[in-house]
């Protein structure tokens, strides 16, 4: 039980990576509260709060309910699959509202009530370092998360550690939406798999595993960093002669 006695708040726990983190933290003994837009999903035993993290006032209100926390995971995120030219003001408000402002809202509200030795884990992305095509605002929002992660580590250490995880291609509904953009989704999938050194896509549990390590006291010297877990994809050049 690596998180026994710890209290955690995880945003975006309905499905995918967030759900895996909630379940892993609970298995390791933490008391977990999670949130998302809409009602409590089926099968989630943990405390659920309906919350849109882009709403600063609502986040402040929830902060009062939450009390003292050891771990905060900023996982809630959305994507809009468009270039800059095609993106609307509403797209900007949605993507930057949740992915960027949401992380800011949650950190600003919760840092003052975190325990000494607390750990903030933000979900960044490999897309914050290298661009996915037709994901302009998403890519930019994740670069914001990376910059904010370093700032929090520098400003709020040594009391609080702050790191970001940069997942690669993880089997979630977001990944499916990405493949649907392709002219031939099956072919695109095969091509993408060939670009992974470990020859598979990630699973939400793969990301929950590093989140657990970063949340635990074992990571007490880890702060201000971006930890990529992508099955080796971004270690390889995108020009992969084996594919031609």
């Amino acid at each position: 039980m690596r998180l026994a006695g710890k209290r955690a708040f995880v945003t975006g726990g309905r499905q995918g990576i967030g759900r895996a983190i909630v379940e892993t933290f609970e298995t390791e003994g933490a008391e977990v509260v999670t949130c998302g837009r809409g009602p409590k999903p089926d099968g989630l035993g943990s405390n659920w709060i309906s919350l849109d993290v882009s709403d600063a006032a609502a986040v402040l209100e929830v902060a009062q309910e939450l009390g003292v926390l050891d771990i905060v995971v900023n996982n809630a995120g959305v994507q809009v699959e468009k270039t800059v030219v095609d993106s609307t003001d509403a797209d900007w408000d949605l993507v930057m509202g949740v992915n960027a402002k949401g992380v800011f809202n949650v950190c600003r509200a919760l840092i003052p009530q975190m325990q000494e030795g607390g750990s903030i884990i933000n979900i960044g992305s490999i897309s914050g370092n290298v661009a996915d095509p037709s994901m302009a605002l998403y890519n930019a929002s994740k670069a914001f998360v990376h910059g904010l992660t370093r700032s929090i580590a520098v400003d709020h250490g040594p009391a609080i550690r702050c790191n970001a995880i940069c997942p690669g291609w993880i089997e979630t509904s977001m990944l499916d939406a990405g493949f649907e953009l392709a002219q031939d989704p099956q072919k695109a999938k095969a091509d993408a798999l060939a670009r992974h050194a470990v020859k598979r896509f990630g699973k939400p549990a793969d990301i929950a595993a590093i989140a657990l390590w970063l949340a635990s006291d074992e990571a007490s010297f880890a702060t201000g960093q971006l930890f990529t877990v992508d099955g080796g994809m971004t270690a390889a050049s995108p020009l992969n002669p084996g594919l031609f």
């Binding site: 992660t149 580590a153 690669g168 050194a197 595993a209 702060t223 201000g224 270690a235």
Partner: protein
Amino acid sequence: MMLNGKVALVTGARGGIGRAIVARFLKEGATVYAADLTPEGSLDRHDDDGSLFVKLDVTQEADAIAVMDQVRNAHGKLDILVNAAGIEIEKTVEDTTLEEWNQSFAVNCTGTFLTSKYAIPLMREAAKSGSSASLINFGSYDGFIADPGLAAYCATKGAVHALTRAMACDHGPEGIRVNAVCPGYIDTPMLQSFFNGDGSGGGGGNIETLQQAVRDVHPMRTYGTPTDIANLVNWLASDEARYASGQLWVLDGGLSAQVQQMKL
């Protein structure tokens, strides 16, 4: 017990960080080969910790072959290799002799290459169990940004970073994950040597004052311990890290997350 049934080999195993890794691997249930030049390594004592000591000069191809033959005969596989052997020459390019330059590359780069070269066939065997094998190199935060007076060291670590990505690319499809751990300031004999030597920046300044100044520049207000590094190496070695490959894992208490701290 995160490493039950796994066979591990650690080079530089009797140095500051190496000992912490060996101790953790043993605690997690692994069979551990502790490879170093001598049973004492870079420290002045030898503790019988339950690991299997093997003499290995990482710059010697014959040593690498002999050590891997020993592992093959005993287990037929190697699940985990940690290339922790390393040396540090505390000099600028101008002051570094050719011999010192060659020795830095021989230990830090050629050593990583040779040990990996003869370990990979055994790691491929380990991966047939269905769990990936894990190869962990020692890079450094100095492979990204430079400390003064460590020219050859910084260069070798940059080379290890690139080699890490290359090996991840080549051997991932065979079930071998390859990552590098990039420590910042860790309390080891190497760090004490750096404080005492030309790299102190102060040239004969008070060592306690210097150490406090170094701690204060870290967002975590401390430098790390070998245990901090062993915690990460253990995770990367375990099946929990089964999707982690080709990455450089900086562990530095936030040091490199900030820009230079100006004293104005």
